[in-house]
Symmetry: C2
Subunit: 327 residues, 2 copies
């Protein structure tokens, strides 16, 4: 069956789509009440709210799909605020002609990823627009931040160690290769980081700043954190983990690894004395096996890369379009 | 300036768009921290979460625009859950070629409507896709429901009076006329209903069920409430408020008033003994001047319309597409 305009008109056909596809896979007690909104259990801690829209093309790719991405992106934003992700809303904008079997596959992937990340999808909305069989997904997320957690973009301090939870560029490279029809060994790193972040807090690591490395890449994220914190950062090119497949793609296409987007990587600033222990915790956590210490926070301003051959270059935030629609 | 793909790439150009357009108009303390999510003050009451995407065409129309609609739709869903709307997220999917002056006008309209409704826009996201200069907006909303409020789709009881807060069909008729290039006196009823709902609670009206009459129209909403509550509903055609302009459009185009969508109308079920007082409260509240008692809840099942000439017909939920992209 293909999606038609009638599926978005808010009548019986919208109702059937919701019960046949969405409610079936997202089943939980709160959503089951089928009201216009979800009443949430009273939280223990501060409430954190975030949102992200997902427009990636293609809809499915090695290592993930737009559904998994839509859960991970919002879950990871909550994690980076020090919150435990709890509830998601899901807003679907479907294009006419979308195959409902594909829609169901994507919805199943969302449901599976939500279970993995420990979140419930408690409210949703569906619209249909003209188009070519694609879809967009918005998720908004509510997390609960236990008392005492203070991770903030402005929390880096000179002397902090900078840790990266794994290889750079995998998601970006995967989408680019898929668009170009290249046959590669690349796989997206799209993953929920809630397990990793909770492991860090459980181990008592005093995280100063934490951000998932998404659109704009490591260069953009590091520049943002450095500016917000009033510090400089220096990273070692040779210390940054990168897969052979991504390194190869960068070489062939002349891509800048440091502005490539990822969807399952964490950048952290932690006090020097906690760095070794934090790295060990991350490496034992889901999706953290290849974590590395990549540099340090310094007094001053700006972000510097020390290259493998001993040079220095300034890293700037991504300018121009990078690769459109990677998330 | 026109929106280009670079505005959605997550780097410096995205940052400039956010600070120049979004942050400037949505300014508030929580959003001002520019983190990946918003930390909310601790709520006093139950938390209600909802989401809605908006894809209306045209983007601007008599009585409103997609920005005002994106605030009202989510605010009204929260109101109908008995919650006081507090916080919104805003996810923008911009099409390449969108005029940034138009974007700013729409963002200003969102900001103005948010102020009117008493909500803060505390988190956002921007993506850019190929297209023809349009945009989609998702809003998710968080409201706080004071202890003791119980409005629910399943709360109607036989003997309840059914109240409608004003004329039917205005938004639907306006969008349809705009698409057909008709010159009419129609204006969308797009409005936040938070003032009206709070006035009802302040007056101590024991609301049994409440729903905003949007996509699918009064027929769909009444059928949903009747089914959820295990009751029947009967409404009087002659009692339903409708403007001359909408009545005229329905006559010319053969539209069914009862499946036309609205964006600022409330349907309520209240105990018979409270009906007159509730009606008075609504009529004095913003956007409620033309409220009317339109029928009653009965034992049984299904929704019946008693026509002006004394006949009876069953109302069913909207089937087929109605009018696409009215919200």
């Amino acid at each position: 069956m293909k999606i038609e305009m009638r599926h978005g008109a808010g009548g019986a056909d919208t109702g059937a789509l919701i019960s046949d596809v969405f409610a079936r896979h997202f089943e939980n007690e709160v959503l089951g009440r089928m009201e216009d909104g979800a009443v949430l259990p009273r939280p223990e801690g501060g409430i954190v709210l975030t949102t992200d829209s997902f427009v990636v093309q293609p809809l499915q790719f090695p290592g993930g799909d737009i559904g998994r991405l839509a859960v991970c992106g919002t879950v990871n934003d909550l994690c980076c605020m020090g919150a435990v992700p709890k509830y998601l809303t899901a807003g679907f904008i479907l294009e006419e002609g979308l195959d409902t079997a594909l829609l169901e596959t994507l919805v199943q992937s969302m449901a599976r990823t939500a279970r993995e990340a420990g979140v419930c999808i408690v409210a949703g909305d569906t619209k249909v627009v003209e188009g070519r069989g694609g879809l967009y997904i918005n998720t908004a997320g509510v997390g609960v931040r236990p008392e005492g957690r203070q991770a903030s973009a402005a929390g880096m301090r000179p002397g902090d160690a900078l840790l990266l939870s794994g290889t750079l560029g995998d998601h970006h490279g995967t989408i680019l290769a898929a668009r170009m029809g290249l046959d590669t060994a690349l796989e997206s790193d799209c993953a929920p980081l809630s397990g990793m972040v909770e492991a860090l807090y459980a181990a008592g690591v005093p995280v100063h700043a934490m951000r998932d490395v998404t659109r704009g890449g490591l260069a953009t994220v590091l520049c943002e954190l450095a500016e917000a914190s009033g510090c400089a950062a220096c990273i070692e090119e040779g210390a940054v983990p990168v897969s052979d497949a991504v390194r190869g793609l960068c070489g062939i296409l002349g891509l800048d690894l440091f502005t490539m987007g990822n969807e399952g990587k964490l950048l952290l600033a932690v006090p020097e004395e906690d760095a070794a222990r934090a790295l060990e915790v991350i490496r034992r956590a889901p999706y953290g096996a290849q974590a590395a210490r990549i540099g340090a926070v310094e007094a001053g301003a700006g972000v510097t890369l020390r290259t493998a051959i001993g040079g220095r270059r300034a890293l700037s935030p991504l300018r121009g379009e990078g690769l459109p629609r990677i998330c």
